[in-house]
């Protein structure tokens, strides 16, 4: 009997057994989850009387819009991410654990998923988070007129949704998939109260730890504690502890830091790497600094669709290798990240459950070899366009340094920095050759390999245009494999292909530095972001 054919016993609202979650895709942390899930009996919503307060959180980004299906709430920065939940929650290692769903069964050769929902979970307006509401949410997301394509991509293979009973919902897929469960975590899937749909753009009603109160673009997102939220701490006290949360978007890194130092906010994200290198030493007596080792991975993408690096050029691979040899990762590490990051030989760093220590960088820094390969390729100084995004300093700073390094070995590179909409147009039209970019995470590695390496994926077609039959076969196999060890092996082989063929050259793991006032207690930063990590982040924070 294959693992995916094992019918798991539906769970009660006390949470899943360890065995049940180990059997599910990416659910290695069931044990950690057990203590964090409230039973209905616990749901008397007892509060810890000494923990509360309001945190003013200065973030780099503000939400684009309020409708959580038409937009997506970015898990690192957008304060609105605290207002809703997906089917699954995440633990500190970014592994899926029970959330709105407390258990699930996989059947029909990974084509049918039956989720048992948490009894008693409600939306902020009092509606039950029941099977009918989940069906309504997923169907709204799947509607191309409504669902943002990034949100929709997480559930695009869902063909039919059945309400089995009030607390059981069944999802039928077009194709077998082992990645549906992690795709249903809060990023990017978030549930809103069906009865609130008319106000989705002005007053969203979710089911997360904090209730939406108001949003003033570029100014503030005000939220208050949802008193009926299900999660509890070790002592059975209801979470979150905080009475309120105020998001304060401040785009510039130094503006946020100054606001923290002057007492206008209590917590900031995305401290600049230059400040992060010295802040703890200089202000450690007044503020806490929390480094989050990795929220994304930086890379230089190569255009495989046309131009000198593409297979259309008989020497395209030689030139990609030359470019890879020309990049001094240590210099980028020091100059862009002030030594805070670490060079990336593969997509996942050692803080991820998908870390691959066996993967080594294929092409080390060797400018002489780069020059030799360029000569061997017969490159005649064709103009090469390197794109970078304007919104993230590390992207265009990496672009500037890589530009200098490639010029140093004799390539004729022009560096262009653009906003995202312009970049996307240029990617689509193939008007580039290199791209200094980065990718942050969804919990399952398929979100990277299946979206950015698999040749038929929209993102791959849009950006690198990479094609490799073996890599495609491995990625498809991994998508339908529940066993984590086996998937790890499959992705490792994909990673070796990536390192050899170079659709992209991984550069660095992107760290995130947060800092807060000493009065902020219980805050535990996390790989999955500050809002929606089970029993961590802002859920367990309070002001002393």
């Amino acid at each position: 009997m294959s693992q995916d054919d094992i019918i798991k016993k539906p769970e009660t609202s006390t949470g899943p057994t360890r065995r049940q979650f180990l059997g599910a895709a990416g659910a290695a942390a069931g044990a950690a989850a057990i203590g964090g899930v409230a039973t209905e009996a616990q749901a008397k919503r007892k509060r810890n009387p000494s923990r509360g307060g309001t945190v003013r959180f200065a973030t780099r980004a503000d939400s684009r819009g309020l409708d959580m299906h038409r937009n997506y709430y970015y898990y690192v920065s957008h304060p609105l991410a605290a207002t809703s939940m997906g089917m699954m929650d995440l633990n500190l290692k970014m592994e899926p654990v029970p959330g709105i769903a407390v258990g699930h069964e996989v059947s029909n050769g990974n084509k049918t998923y039956t989720f048992n929902l948490r009894k008693g979970a409600t939306y902020h307006n009092g509606e039950d988070v029941d099977a009918a509401s989940i069906k309504w949410n997923l169907e709204r997301i799947l509607d191309p007129k409504v669902g943002h394509s990034f949100v929709r991509s997480a559930v695009k293979d869902v063909s039919k949704i059945d309400v089995v009973d009030k607390w059981t919902v069944r999802l039928h897929l077009n194709n077998p998939s082992a990645v549906l469960v992690p795709n249903l975590t809060y990023y990017p899937i978030q549930f809103m109260a069906p009865g609130s749909v008319d106000k989705a753009d002005t007053h969203p009603v979710g089911c997360g730890p904090f209730k939406f109160k108001s949003w003033k673009k570029f100014d503030s997102t005000v939220m208050e504690r949802f008193e009926n939220w299900y999660e509890t701490d070790d002592q059975g006290n209801a979470l979150p502890y905080l009475d309120g949360l105020v998001g304060r978007p401040k785009k510039e890194d130094r503006v946020r830091l100054t606001a923290l130092r002057t007492g206008e906010v209590d917590l900031i994200d995305n401290m600049s790497y230059a400040d992060g290198a010295t802040f703890e030493k200089e202000y450690g007596d007044k503020f806490n600094t929390w480094p989050v080792p990795q929220v994304g991975t930086g890379y230089i993408g190569f255009n495989w669709k046309n131009g000198p690096f593409s297979p259309k050029n008989p020497h395209g691979k030689l030139l990609r290798q030359a470019a890879a040899h020309a990049v001094n990762h240590e210099a980028v590490h020091q100059a862009v990240f002030n030594g805070v990051s670490s060079p990336a030989p593969a997509f996942y760093s050692d803080v991820s459950p998908w870390y691959m220590p066996e993967i080594k960088r294929r092409y080390e820094f060797d400018p002489d070899k780069a020059r030799f390969l360029i000569k061997k390729a017969g490159a005649q100084g064709e103009p090469i366009i390197l794109l970078s995004r304007d919104a993230y300093a590390y992207m265009h700073q990496t672009g500037e340094i890589v530009h200098a390094m490639l010029s140093e070995v004799g390539l004729n590179v022009k560096h262009e920095i653009h906003p995202y909409s312009v970049l996307k147009s240029k990617w689509r039209k193939g008007e580039f050759h290199l791209d200094s970019s980065a990718n942050s995470y969804r919990p399952d590695p398929d979100a990277w390999y299946g979206r950015s390496v698999y040749s038929e994926a929209g993102s791959t077609k849009l950006r690198t245009g990479f094609k490799n039959e073996r890599a495609d076969k491995l990625i498809l196999e991994a998508q339908n494999t529940l066993d984590k060890g086996k998937r790890h092996e499959l992705y490792m082989e994909v990673e070796n292909i990536v390192n050899e063929e170079l659709p992209m050259l991984y550069t660095h793991y992107i760290p995130l530095i947060q800092a807060g006032v000493k009065k902020l207690k219980g805050y535990q930063p996390a790989f999955p972001g500050p809002y929606s990590t089970q029993r961590a982040g802002l859920r367990t924070a309070y002001m002393s």
């Binding site: 684009r64 819009g65 309020l66 409708d67 038409r70 191309p144 007129k145 943002h148 394509s149 990034f150 949100v151 929709r152 991509s153 753009d201 002005t202 003033k216 673009k217 570029f218 100014d219 304060r248 978007p249 401040k250 785009k251 510039e252 503006v255 100054t258 606001a259 130092r261 002057t262 206008e264 653009h418 906003p419 995202y420 909409s421 312009v422 970049l423 996307k424 147009s425 990617w427 689509r428 979206r451 994926a457 929209g458 993102s459 077609k461 849009l462 950006r463």
Partner: protein, 316 residues
């Protein structure tokens, strides 16, 4: 004056019409398109979805038809919805314009309060220590980049002295005291530079006026020096100052993206900047139209003020 005002309002119509045509055309020339902003990477190359969204947002029609539809609705007060947030454009503008108007008016008011006495005294006490101090100060004000002065203010008043908040905005309708507290630094950053220009202009206007015959006549009639200076000379010298202050105000109401970023001030500058980046046509169109109206109205008020200051000025 009433006829003049009505005429000026009627003249606004072709100006605003041309403005909307230019803006609409300009937006079409921007690199990238709104579909790229709306659509995720996954489906960016899906022709069916692109066509669907083009139709959904009315972008599949010829540009002149799109413009006609927009204009027809705008004339009825319907600016549509933001393509990004899907909130009514009116709401988007209503959130950001008051903050900008508030900062602009107080900043300009502050500059006038500083510049008029300083410029007048510098002119009256020409070549004195006071004059030199005023000139050097205004030269510094003109030379220092606004963003640098703003950052220095934050470092001094917020970080070192801890007197004022470094960033943020509170509406005066929510809490006037807190609102003023948050306003001081941005208004100072705006006002200092504007005051520098206005001081120099007031000084030179005053010097021009003081050399005119009517000033000598007034003195020969035995009027006191303060009366000659402040009742007659300054009043006439104010006309260019008011003109420049009006233009400065109109300029500030267009939004100051850099200052808004430094002080995390939720103004129209950031809103329109982001709308341009996102190709949010309805918001760009309505924002620029509203700003155009504000500029025209400010200019009209300045013209009317000439008449108040000097009844000999003919209107029309």
């Amino acid at each position: 004056m009433l006829v003049y005002t009505i005429n000026r309002i009627l003249q606004m119509i072709p100006v605003l019409f041309v403005l909307t045509v230019v803006t609409f055309s300009f937006v079409q020339l921007l690199p990238g398109d709104v579909i790229d902003t709306l659509i995720g990477d996954e489906e960016a190359e899906d022709p069916e979805l692109r066509a669907f969204l083009m139709k959904e947002y009315g972008l599949d029609k010829p540009i002149y038809i799109q413009y006609g539809i927009w204009l027809g609705k705008a004339l009825q007060g319907d600016f549509g919805k933001s393509l990004i947030t899907r909130r009514p454009v009116g709401v988007e503008l209503f959130e950001s314009i008051p903050a900008t108007v508030y900062l602009g008016l107080v900043g300009i008011g502050l500059s006038v309060i500083i510049a008029l006495p300083l410029g007048s005294i510098a002119a009256v006490k020409r070549n004195s220590a006071t004059d030199y101090t005023a000139q050097v100060t205004s030269l510094i004000g003109i030379s220092i980049p606004e963003f640098w002065f703003a950052i220095m203010c934050v470092i001094l008043f917020s970080l070192h002295l801890g007197w004022l908040p470094s960033s943020g905005y509170v509406s005066p309708f929510e809490d006037l005291g807190q609102s003023l507290y948050y306003l001081i630094l941005p208004a100072l950053a705006v006002g200092f530079r504007q005051a520098a220009y206005t001081t120099r202009l007031t000084r030179s206007s005053m010097l021009d006026e003081m050399n005119k015959e009517y000033v000598d006549t007034a003195r020969s009639l035995g009027f006191s020096e303060p009366k000659v200076i402040y009742k007659y000379t300054l009043r006439n010298a104010l006309i260019p100052t008011i003109t420049i202050s009006g233009l400065q105000l109109a300029n500030l109401l267009g939004g100051t993206v850099v200052l808004e970023t430094i002080f995390a001030w939720p103004g129209i500058g950031q809103a329109i900047y982001l709308a341009i980046i996102d190709h949010d046509y309805p918001l760009i169109q309505a924002g620029i139209l509203v700003l155009g109206i504000i500029v025209v109205v400010v200019n009209l008020l300045v013209d009317l003020l000439y008449r108040v200051l000097n009844p000999r000025v003919a209107l029309g």
